[in-house]
Every structure is written in C-alpha cells, then in structure tokens.
Amino acid sequence: MGIKIIKLLTFVIVLFIISVFFISLNKSSFYNTKVLEGQKISGINLNHFSEDRTIIEKDLKKNNFTLINFWASWCGPCRLEHPFLLKLKSEKKLNIIGVNFKDKKSNAINFLKELGNPYNELAKDEFGRQSINFGIYGIPESILINKDLVILKKFIGPISKKDYNFIKNVIKKK
C-alpha cells in the first residue's frame, strides 16, 4: 500500500517538474510584453557607470524618447544589436541610456572601445538588482519610453532590423 503511494507520488512529481520546465521553455520564447506597454515606470535610481552620481527620472525626461538598453560585454547577442544602436545615436529626438548588467568595468569599456559607444548616458548594475525593477528577463533587452515615462515597447533579445525600423517610425510620427 505504502509503496504504491510512493510510486504514484514520484511519477506525479516528476511529471509536474518536467511539465513546468516545458511550459517555461515555451514561455521564454513567446514571452509577451504587451501588458507592459502603456505602463509608467517610476522609482528610477541607477548608478552612473563612471561618475559618482545616480541617474534618476529627471534624466529620462530630457528628450522626447528614451531607449533604455540593458547589455553586457559577456553577452554575444549584444554584439548583434550594437550596429543598430549606433545608427540610432544620430536620432536627435532619442536619448539612449545603457545599463551595463552584471559586468566587469574594464571589459565593458573594452567592449565599447571595440564596437563604439552609442549611449548618451551609461549606468551600471553590477549585481543585476536594479534591472529586476525593470522586469529584465535576460540580456539584451531594451525599453522604449516617452517623455512621460510611459513604456511604448519592450524589446526582448537583440534589437533587430525590424525593431530598428519600429523605433525610427515612432520617432518620426511625433
């Protein structure tokens, strides 16, 4: 009797764990960011990368649009999106803020040295704590906000050609 219950329980637990893994596997690939759009971000307090100050909400209101890009030197896909960020740098109405995620300072600087620096402001998040407040799921991710700090779009994964065009269109409309 006892052994039967144990058998049943083991199979149930194993199946449960495996199915959760399966769901989360699909979840990460079809991660939906629609719910975030239209929400306002608040309580910004990011440490500046090299200077002894913090980046706060005021800094995000300096321009019509702000793209907050979470990146790291150890992240391969970040290299893919970098050319698009550099192209966006020339957009006058867009402010690009980089958040260097769980990275070593010298490596981050080398990365920018090698590929170019697209950021108007650069913040650091050495332990990945502040990024949690932005709902950062993995690296790279980017959040496009407007002057009122409302999220227009969240990009999971590297900024693609399509995302690049999307951002350009949004800016043009204004």
């Binding site: 399966f22 989360s24 990460s28 690939s29 391969g76 300072k105």
Partner: protein
C-alpha cells in the same frame, strides 16, 4: 574540409554506437562468460574516432578556420594559441563535444577495467551508456553542430569573450565535465545492476572508484570556477549562488552522499536501493543542470545565446532518462527490512546523507523556484544569497559535529566510551574561538558557533590521525578530506567576519587612516603603451599592527580609439590576506575615488578545497592497487 571530416566522424560515431549496442545484445545470447573481441575493438575504435573528431575541431581553432560558425563566433586570428585551444570548449557546441568524449572514454575504460564482474552486468552497462552516447551525438549533429559552415567564410572571427580568457577558466570545463559527465557511468551501471540483479557488495566495488574519480574532479572543477570569479569578475567575492554555480554544486552533493553510503553497502550490504537512487540522481542532476544553463530559461553568467529548440531537445532527453530510470527502479524495488542500530557507524553515515539531501533540496529549490513561480503565478522573483545563507549556515553547525563524531563510531553497535576526550576537544575549540575573538574582534553568535564547530572537527580529525599512527593504519584519505573541510569552513568564517571594505577619496601625497591601516597615495605615473596610456597609481598600505608594508598599483587605462577608460584592479595575494585596490578619477578634481578591500585567508580557502579533493585522489590511488 575540416567541416566534412568532423561531420563524417560524428556520423561514424553514431554508427559505431549502434553497432556496439547490436553486438552487445547478440553477445547476451551466447553462453560464454567472455565478452567478444569485436566489442572491445569497437569501443576502442569509438574512443579513437571521437577524440580524432575533437582534435579536428581544435585544429580548426588553431588554424583559425572561420568557415566554421563555432570558430568564427569564438575565436580570432590574433588570439594567443593557448586561448585558441581553450576556445574549443569555451562555447556551447565545443563543450557538448567534450561531453560526448567523456561519455565515450568512460564507457571504454569501464569495460576494460571492471573485467572481474559478470558479463551480463558489464554488457548492460555498455548498452545503457551507448544509448546516452547516441542521444548526445544526435543532439550534437542535428542541433548543436560544431562543424556547421558559414558561407562565404568571414576573414576574421568575433573573438573569445575577453572575460573568458583566463587560465583558471581554460581548465575549468574539462575538470568539471570529468566530474559530472563521468557520473554517467554509474548511472548506466546502476540501471544495469537493477536489470541483471547484480547487487550489493560486488556492485559497490565496481563503481566506487568511478564515484571517487568524478567526485575529486568535480571538487577541483568547482574550485577553478570560483577562483576565476574571484580574480576576473573582481567583486571581491568567490561564491555568488549563481544558477550555474548551483548547477555544479547539486551533483556534488549527490556524489558526496553516494561516496559515503557506498561504504555502508560495501561493508555491511545495506542500503542497496538508496545507493541506486543516488547513482541515478547524480547524473540526472548533471543533465538537469545542463538543461537549465543551456536552454536559457535561467539568466546567468554562463547563458549562451538562447535557442529554444536546444532546450527542448535536452528536456526531452532528460524526461526520457528520468521516466525510464524511475520505471525500472520501481519495477525492481523490493522493500527490505534493515536492522540498523541507532548508535552505529551506519546511522552516522545515513545522517551524512540526510544533510547532503537537505543541502541538495535547498539549493535545488532556490535555483528552480523562480521558474516555478513564473509559470504558476506569473510572478518574477529572484532568490539571492540571503536565502541560501539563512537556510544552510545554521544547519552547518550540526553537520560539522556529526562529521567529527561519525568517523570514530563503530560498525553495527557503537559505544561512546571516549566521552571524556570529546568534552576536552569541545572545550579546546571553545577556548580557541574565544582566543580569536580576544585577539582580533568579536563576531555574531552564529559565527561563534560555526567557528567553534569547525575547530572541533579539525581537532577531532587530528586526534584520529594520532590514533591511526599508533595503529600503523595509513588510510588517511578520509581524514585528509574531513580536516580540510573543517579548515574550509573555518577560513570562510574568518574571511566573512574579518573582511574589510572601504571607499574613500584621496589625492596624490595624501594618506588615509582607518582601523589599523594607513593607505598612502604615493605617486601617480603616466606610462604610454602600444594601444593605450595608463595612469598608474602607487599606493603604500601600511599595517599599523605589525608595520608590514605592501605596495599596490591600480591603473586607469586610456584607450585612444575611441577614447575610453578602463579601471584595472590591483590584487596582492598574500599568505594571510589579500589586498585589493581599484581607483577611478573624479571629474574636475585632483581627487581619486579609492576602493580598498582586505580579504583574509583567500589563499587558504583555495588550498582547503584542493586538499579536500586530494583526499579523494589518495583513496583512488590506494584502491587502484586492488583489483575489483
């Protein structure tokens, strides 16, 4: 060209695997007790061809053949040859090839070395192991092929992430893989043991060296990863409870439990089914770890580019493995009535196992909890060091006491007739602890308990050593590992309590004094290098207590094209403590921001772990002389 050779060898290996299974099943039908020459030859051929395959990939890295995607993405023609070679396994595809190699070589060596055991048991082990090998090779060939071509071939590669160009990290994956991929062989052996009813003592003898081997390598592998994190990530820490660190720790707990319960199985013929569970669990946890890391569902330093199909394949493989092994296990499980005296060595070893399983469950929960909450409630949580520290550390105190007393207990029925010496050692440790507090500074109650119990373990082990010497018994491996573990906990405890971190601003010529330190900003030099200029600060750290002086030279590097700054920490590793300084400039000011850290006993933390694994190797060499 190299791509074709590689693909050909991979496909060939799948065919060899299938034929090994075919001939093995055929050889089960004949009545001889010998395994045919053809199977031996096939296994040798299999190992040779997979190694050749690996060397083909290494060759591609050495000659910088960027027509291979893997080489293009992870290498660069100007990279030092050492890192070109280590780049071979510094990426997803190459490291999976390393997986396949270890699976194959262990399969061949098991066949070769364990030749005193019955044919059926060995053949079944070979079959199961080859099923695993084929599973991985198919994954390698169709999903994560290291020999995929890129057309047209790029002229230059993307380069290996500079953070990975580190000697400790170059040897980290192979060592760790021998550990957790090596556990596959006792997974296979455990299933073979269930299927052929080859159990108890002989079974324990057939796998114990393999468990020791994988455990020792796993220990060293975890250490190299930790050393890398300390020097390269430069946050002054050495363990971050990162999901990947946890993934390497989980099988380690299972292996440690297994090493201990195997002793009971060998000596007393007890706990057979528990040993089987641990054998299965170790490898299942290894594959689970690989799944968590490679599928990208957890975010960590090791996350490679995400690819959901990759995760799906590993998960299907893992599910089949778990379901099959659970099914076979229950089919063969017979409940036995063990009569174990509650005061005996058997019980103490079981207690070790409870602790290990407790740690395992804690770390496993902490690691997968965020995945579960997200799937079930859409909440994102992050489990950090506070969780692990509060759950694990208090329990460690109890664990250390059992670890001190257990080894002295006798089999079957124990009596504590040495109560007097236990009390003396306990008082000795308490005294020692208060000497530390008196000489240096006081720390929390919990730290007191931890340090007392670790000293208790060290003293008890020393007493055991003396006893062994008296009895002319030179079986030191257990004592070596246990004592080193005591030291490890002690040094981590002292490191945690006596670390010092200070942040302040200084300009050249000034001196900052705090606690027992005086830090002088002596000089600032500008040096011009080939591709950068460096502002090198010269700091003198004077320890006022013993007047010892150290000089450290952190740098700010200025790269010209484009102009960027990098900050290089200066770490001075010493016998008793490490000093760590970074400096950064403050805009429009002569002042520099200085971050100073004192980390006591870092070197001894590393040495303790090396000695822990040394205990495993010692036992292995001793066992190597006997032929099981």
């Amino acid at each position: 060209m190299l791509s074709n050779v590689g693909n050909l060898l991979l496909s060939l290996n799948i065919l060899i695997g299938i034929s090994i299974i075919f001939f093995s099943i055929k050889s089960l039908e004949d009545r001889t007790d010998l395994i045919g020459k053809n199977i031996y030859n096939l296994c040798l051929f299999q190992s040779t061809s997979i190694i050749t395959c690996f060397f083909t990939l290494i060759a591609a890295f050495i000659i910088s053949d960027f027509s291979l995607i893997t080489v293009y993405q992870n290498s660069h023609s100007l990279k030092p040859i050492f890192y070109k070679i280590s780049g071979t396994w510094g990426n997803h595809e190459g490291s999976l090839l390393l997986w396949a190699i270890i699976l194959t070589i262990f399969s061949y060596l098991f066949l070769l070395i364990n030749n005193k055991h019955p044919k059926r048991y060995r053949i079944y082990t070979l079959i199961i192991q080859n099923i695993l090998i084929i599973g991985f090779l198919i994954f390698l060939l169709f999903n994560s092929n290291p020999f995929s071509l890129i057309l047209p071939a790029p002229k230059e590669g993307l380069g290996l992430n500079p953070i990975l160009q580190d000697p400790a990290l170059a040897i980290h994956p192979p060592l760790l893989y021998i550990g957790f991929v090596g556990s596959s062989i006792y997974f296979s052996a455990a299933i073979a043991s269930l299927l052929t009813d080859y159990s108890d003592k002989q079974f324990a003898q057939s796998i114990k060296n393999w468990v020791l081997l994988s455990w020792s390598f796993q220990t060293i592998g975890i250490l190299t990863g930790s050393i890398w994190a300390y020097y390269e990530l430069g946050w002054g820490g050495f363990w971050f409870w990162d999901p990947v660190e946890n993934a390497s720790l989980l099988p380690w707990f299972a292996m440690t439990a297994l090493i201990h319960s195997l002793i009971v199985l060998e000596k007393r013929n007890l706990l057979y089914f528990w040993v089987i569970i641990l054998c299965l669990l170790t490898f299942i946890l290894s594959v689970t770890g690989t799944f968590l890391v490679r599928s990208g569902i957890l975010n960590s330093v090791h996350t490679f580019a995400n690819d959901p199909t990759r995760g799906a394949y590993i998960l299907i493989f893992l599910s089949l493995m778990i379901l099959a092994s659970v099914f076979i296990f229950f089919k063969k499980f017979r409940s036995k009535n063990y009569n174990v005296n509650s005061n005996s060595k058997e019980t103490f070893i079981l207690i070790n196992n409870w602790f290990m399983i407790f740690y395992l469950i804690t770390v496993l929960l902490g690691t997968v909890y965020p995945i579960f909450t997200e799937v079930l409630s859409d909440n994102k949580v992050s489990v950090g060091p506070p969780f692990y520290n509060t759950v694990i550390i208090p329990i460690l105190v109890l664990f250390l006491y059992f670890m001190s007393l257990g080894p002295q207990a006798r089999w079957i029925k124990n009596q504590f007739n040495n109560l007097k010496s236990i009390v003396i050692i306990l008082f000795g440790s308490i005294l020692m602890n208060f000497v530390i507090v008196y000489l240096f500074e006081s720390y929390s109650v919990l730290s007191n308990f931890i340090i007392i119990s670790s000293i208790f373990l060290i003293f008890s082990s020393i007493k055991d050593t003396i006893k062994l010497f008296k009895n002319k018994d030179f079986n030191f491996s257990r004592i070596v590992s246990h004592t080193a573990f005591g030291f490890l906990v002690l040094f981590i405890g002292l490191n945690y309590n006596f670390s010092l971190e200070k942040d302040f601003n200084l300009k050249v010529g000034e001196t900052k004094k705090f606690d027992n330190y005086s830090i002088k900003f002596k000089d600032l030099n500008l040096k011009v290098f080939k591709n950068y200029k460096a502002v090198i600060g010269e700091f003198k750290i004077l320890n006022l207590r013993n007047n010892s002086e150290q000089s450290l030279t952190p740098e700010i590097r200025i790269y010209e094209n484009p102009s960027t700054l990098t900050y290089e920490a200066s770490i001075r590793t010493g016998l008793l403590k490490d000093y760590y300084i970074t400096m950064s400039n403050i805009d429009r000011s002569d002042y520099y921001n200085i971050k100073f850290q004192k980390k006591p006993f870092m070197l001894w933390i590393w040495i303790s772990v090396i000695i822990i694994s040394l205990g495993g190797f010692l036992r292995l060499f001793k066992n190597g002389n006997k032929n099981y």
